[in-house]
């Protein structure tokens, strides 16, 4: 990012929530870069940016679509890059129909099931794929790398980009109505301001300049989150900003090692390293061969899926995993249905799920529709909470607003709660993986006090006890537990697991001598190697040398600081930083290039490309794996090696990002009046999770939720800490002076915020940092609430998530908390009165308590 000429922060509040990463934005700024912040609120990020663009929460895709349209219309795209490195020239199937033709729907919509059949989105001449691409659109699987066609040589293309059926022309038509005027009407952003931003981005992209985008969960947490991010990817590909220094799309991550938690996943539908989780409803997944047949891609890096998977099974099941028993593939749990977080809440509430381990999470505050969430917790048989403080999830049964009100009686909550003390980060060793896929190791600072232990130690101990318990059990469960290798060395006064042994397992080793492999290229599918997470392979290239410990930085790629997967490469797809012939696009943006004399790729970074494959390499017919990619196909993880402007398979809501209004929106969809909401968003309409219809007059304001620098997520690690609690001691809602004037609210007054899920009372923070917008000719007010607060801790406040609905993006199954509608009234919540929801107002204007 420090190399960027323009940084666009949208869907993120980087200065507040990623302040350490923000230092690189400041570096770029000091070097003359333009910093643009596009966000409903003027936040601390806006304060440091050159321009702040306030827009209506939930209208991001209109804005991005208009940027795409502007880029194409004014010929600002990077033509050489687009023609060679993206699927812009590819001809699409004749049957494909765009949302422009079908009133907001793509072809293939199955109305009864509210899903798409992706068949018509295929590349022309491509057969119906029987495997990954097809079923990705049918069930809860998501799959990376399936876009495109197996064999790039069989693609029909038009390098002149003129064919009306080529991706480039389809994209141009799709976004033709995303105009500056539409931005003004739908986003509330003045036309001139939009044009200023568009000009800044496009003039800072090309051979000699690059623009980067940074986003966080304010793009993710929408029913169209994946598509918003996809629109940015499309734009950045058109501008030639992917795989180049100072370019890219940075998913700001790192809180609670979120990147690491998806790499070595806590997600229910993935195995380590983004291998799909076997699933019961997919028949072919019943056997290892069937799974591989289904999921393996013939071309690109996923051709080696069998090696990654078999090595994983060897790491998990050790000697028990043999070729003749399919390496214990049958012991891997299979997905039965949707087991994502929100589905889990409903299963708990409905009595299907009986127990819950809760570690590093505080769903009573952080879960969506948390009123329903707490009812779900109260319906469990048992609940284990491991945390550093007695968080709301452990205390809900006697301390939640509903318990204080008397709506639930502690004596009647049947859940047996085990509250176990946890060690905090300084009391344990381990690693964090951040935005850049950079794994950084940290040692233990002090021994944990009392009975506090790390999660790893707890889980290791639990595993050993389970093994003891099931030692003589021959049933399916016993076989699973007994087969798992569970023999890590321990150390220290508490016999804690040596986590570097886990790093070695993730790195992979040859089974016969347990010697670490140097990278995933060494993995095999015959059981001679074991590897816990193929993408992390190379992190410990020799015994005891943990590269995540490396701490030698420099101003370039800093290859000797930590370890970035894959293979310590810092910039994914960095082959794209050179032109098709392998020369840097420009001296200023030099990163990785082809050395014609030495016949290999070289540069500042580890090439994310086969090191000796020359730029003029052309695959022979029938080539497999990476050999099927030409020497100018930088996107090695995609089937055809090309950046996908048009995503022909793998997404559940269409091949091109399309604007749909939030599930609850104060306005209808100006672009597709017939199709206001996403046609495939996942909703859970039920009495305890009711929704507002679009433009429901009872809920006239846009509500967005956000975080503050001073607190961390649901507050478990910050609201109990005096030094942090005093800095943001109480919940509040930010409202504009105009709305405050309309409703007669003064700064610091109690207000009640409500949706159909619930109502909460909190303090008003009246600030000009929130501005009313003109949307479609009318004034629209937005309000914002931090969602950190709960009834426990030193910094307490109403739970913003009590207002949020369970409704999901069909790809990611992420909820929509960044744009919904609410009502807001002056005064405290009726009846709740002084019992309140935690915020008893120790400070501001005590005389103003209305106490209604």
């Amino acid at each position: 990012m420090a190399d960027s000429d323009c940084v666009v922060i949208m869907g993120a509040n980087m200065a507040e929530n990623h302040p350490v990463g923000f230092r690189f934005v400041m570096k770029a700024k000091e070097r003359g870069a333009t910093i643009i912040h596009i966000d409903p609120r003027f936040s601390r990020t806006s304060a440091l940016s050159d321009v702040h663009v306030p827009l209506r929460a939930g209208s991001d895709l209109v804005f991005l679509g208009a940027l795409i349209n502007y880029t194409l219309k004014h010929h600002k795209y990077f033509k050489d890059y687009v023609v060679h490195y993206t699927n812009a020239p590819v001809i699409i199937n004749d049957d494909y129909r765009d949302t422009e033709e079908l009133g907001g729907l793509f072809s293939g919509y199955v109305e009864k099931e509210r899903r798409y059949d992706a068949e018509t989105w295929r590349y022309a001449g491509q057969p119906v794929h029987s495997g990954a691409e097809q079923h990705a659109s049918e069930d809860f699987q998501t799959r990376e790398g399936v876009a495109g066609q197996d064999d790039a040589t069989k693609q029909q293309t038009d390098p002149t980009l003129q064919d009306p059926r080529c991706v480039f022309q389809i994209v141009a038509r799709h976004y033709a109505r995303y105009t500056p005027d539409m931005v003004e009407q739908s986003c509330g952003v003045p036309r001139e301001l939009f044009l200023k931003v568009a000009e800044a981005i496009t003039s800072n992209s090309g051979r000699d300049r690059t623009t980067s985008f940074a986003y966080a969960v304010a793009w993710t947490q929408h029913t169209t989150g994946t598509q918003i991010i996809g629109a940015c990817a499309l734009l950045q590909l058109l501008l030639g900003n992917i795989g180049r220094p100072g370019g890219g799309i940075l998913a700001l991550r790192g809180h609670a090692t979120i990147q690491g938690s998806t790499d070595i996943p806590t997600l229910y539908n993935l195995l380590p390293g983004y291998i799909p989780m076997p699933s019961r409803p997919v028949q072919s997944h019943a056997t290892l061969d069937g799974f591989i047949r289904e999921e393996k891609l013939e071309t690109g890096i996923w051709h080696d899926l069998p090696k990654y998977l078999v090595s994983l099974l060897k790491a998990w099941y050790g000697a028990a995993a043999q070729p003749d028993n399919d390496f214990c593939y049958d012991l891997v749990p299979k997905i039965e249905a949707d087991h994502s977080f929100q589905a889990m809440l409903l299963m708990m509430k409905d009595g299907i799920m009986k127990g819950l381990f809760c570690m590093g999470q505080n769903p009573a505050v952080g879960g969506q529709n948390s009123i329903l969430g707490r009812q779900a917790l109260a319906n469990l048989d048992w609940l284990v909470v491991r945390d550093v403080h007695e968080i709301e999830t452990a205390a809900f049964w006697y301390d939640a607003p509903e318990a204080r009100r008397g709506d639930i009686r502690p004596t009647e909550v049947k859940t047996e709660i085990f509250f176990l003390p946890a060690a905090i980060s300084a009391e344990k060793e381990g690693s964090y993986t951040n935005t850049q896929r950079l794994v950084q190791w940290h040692d233990k600072g002090v021994e944990p006090s009392g009975d506090c232990r790390s999660e790893a130690t707890f889980l290791y101990d639990l595993g050993k006890r389970l093994k003891e318990l099931y030692r003589d059990d021959d049933g399916p469960r016993g076989r699973q537990i007994n087969a798992v290798t569970w023999d890590y060395p321990t150390k220290g006064p508490f016999g804690e697991i040596d986590l570097e042994a886990v790093v070695k397992e993730m790195n992979g080793y040859t089974v016969v001598d347990r010697r670490p492999v140097t990278g995933y290229a060494e993995l095999t599918d015959d059981g001679s190697t074991a590897c816990g997470c193929w993408i992390y392979s190379g992190i410990m290239p020799e015994e005891g040398r943990n590269l995540a410990r490396a701490r030698s930085g420099d101003d370039r790629a800093a290859l000797d600081w930590g370890f970035a997967w894959p293979g310590n490469c810092r910039l994914l797809y960095n082959r794209a930083s050179a032109d098709p012939d392998g020369r840097p696009w420009s001296e200023r943006k030099k990163w990785v290039w082809w050395d014609g004399e030495q016949r290999h790729w070289t540069g500042h970074d580890v090439p994310d490309f086969p090191t000796t494959k020359p730029p003029d390499y052309r695959p022979p017919p029938g080539a497999k794996g990476l050999a099927a990619h030409a020497g100018d196909a930088p996107f090695v993880r995609l089937a055809d090696g090309k950046g996908a402007l048009f995503v022909s398979a793998g997404l559940k809501d269409g091949p091109l990002p399309t604007h749909y209004e939030p599930w609850e929106s104060p306005v209808s969809n100006l672009l597709y009046p017939e199709q206001s909401r996403s046609p495939v968003a996942l909703s859970f309409p039920r009495p305890d999770n009711r929704y507002h219809e679009p433009a429901d007059l009872r809920f006239p304001y846009v509500l967005t939720t956000y975080r503050l620098t001073e607190h961390h997520c649901a507050g478990g690690m910050s609201r109990w800490v005096p030094w942090l609690a005093e800095l943001q001691p109480e919940g509040f809602v930010e409202i504009s002076p105009e709305l405050a004037g309309e409703l007669g609210i003064d700064n610091g007054d109690w207000v009640t915020v409500s949706t159909l899920r619930g109502q909460i009372e909190t303090r008003a923070m009246v600030t000009a940092r929130i501005q009313p917008l003109r949307i479609d000719g009318k004034t629209l007010h937005q309000v914002g609430m931090p969602w950190h607060f709960g009834f426990g801790g030193l910094a307490a406040g109403a739970i913003a998530n009590d207002l949020i609905a369970l409704v999901e993006d069909p790809n990611s199954r992420i909820h929509q908390a960044k744009a919904l509608t609410c009502n807001l009234e002056r005064g405290r919540e009726p009846k709740a009165g002084r019992r309140g929801t935690g915020g008893e107002g120790r400070g501001m204007h005590p005389s103003r308590d209305d106490g209604a």
């Binding site: 806006s46 304060a47 050159d50 321009v51 610091g748 107002g841």
Partner: protein, 286 residues
């Protein structure tokens, strides 16, 4: 990263020291508001290192500022000033720092001539070998004379032990060659620590750069070369600001109260003499 090298810190080049008006070996801070992101990491790092309790003021309603001011238990304080409708910065796309939401991490200025030190009757307040000003807690008797003597309102009496407290510029860390906790924690180097002889030229260069980039209003608050320091002779913790000092709750023309004592003293004597003479004359007439 910027660990203090005591050798470097104490032997600044004589000429540059003369330029900046710093005493030999003087250490201090420059706090650059154009780099501050208002994260308050300095406040937290300060309280953690110095083991200071929370102020617990509750929600103040003053923007994102809930600690209000420097005090006995808050030695770094980030002020938030919202200035909307006044047209600065953020819509201009000018690459000029500065916006409608100003943030400043305030701290004890460790004055070159410190009012608190001069007023302290017990000798509790000393000037250290680093040219910083420290209140020795075992000597302070809590008389509070230092409070009105500080033109910046920095020292404050603790409600717990009754003594005066303020920033020590992490004297204990300096002794061990570490930079102060706040500077260490600052993610954007808005707070920079080092020898004044190095910091001052760096800050002057920064102001020049800022002005070149269109921030005409940038200046150093606490540069003795600028004057107007009312006997203080410069600050060892100085600031790069882009608006009037009052906007940041800093005095425009800070002055040592002691400077006023001579006039008061002479007036008092004059008045006493006049009264005496008048009394004498009155009584003589009887």
């Amino acid at each position: 990263m910027r660990e203090l090298d005591p050798a470097n810190g104490s032997i600044g080049p004589e000429s540059s020291a003369a330029n900046t008006g710093a005493r030999r070996g003087a250490l201090g801070f420059v706090t650059d508001v154009t780099l501050c992101i208002g994260c308050k990491a300095c406040e937290v790092a300060c309280k953690q290192w110095n083991d200071l309790p929370m102020d617990d003021l509750g929600l103040t309603g003053h923007s994102y500022d809930n600690t209000n001011d420097l005090g006995a238990t808050t030695w770094r304080h980030v002020a938030f000033v919202e200035q909307f409708g006044q047209g600065r910065g953020s819509q201009s796309m000018s690459n000029a720092p500065g916006s409608n939401w100003l943030m400043l991490s305030d701290v004890c200025k460790h004055c070159v001539n410190a009012g608190c030190l001069e007023a302290c009757p017990t000798g509790a307040i000393i000037r250290t070998e680093f040219d910083t000003v420290v209140i020795q807690q075992d000597i302070c008797n809590g008389c509070g004379y230092c409070l009105p003597a500080c033109p910046f309102g920095v020292p404050a009496l603790s409600q717990t032990d009754g003594k005066a407290h303020k920033c020590t510029l992490c004297y204990d860390r300096l002794k061990d060659g570490l930079e102060p906790a706040c500077a260490k924690a600052c993610p954007t180097d808005s707070i920079q620590f080092g020898p004044i002889a190095e910091l001052m030229p760096r800050a002057r260069k920064r102001v020049t750069t800022l002005r070149e980039r269109g921030v005409e209003s940038a200046y150093i608050y606490g540069d003795r070369a600028v004057g107007g320091t009312g006997g203080i002779s410069g600050l060892n913790a100085f600031f790069v600001l882009i608006d009037a000092p009052e906007v940041y709750n800093l005095p425009n023309m800070p002055e040592l109260p002691q400077r006023k004592t001579m006039a008061s003293y002479l007036t008092t004597i004059g008045t006493a003499v006049a009264c005496g003479v008048a009394t004498y004359l009155t009584l003589r007439n009887r």
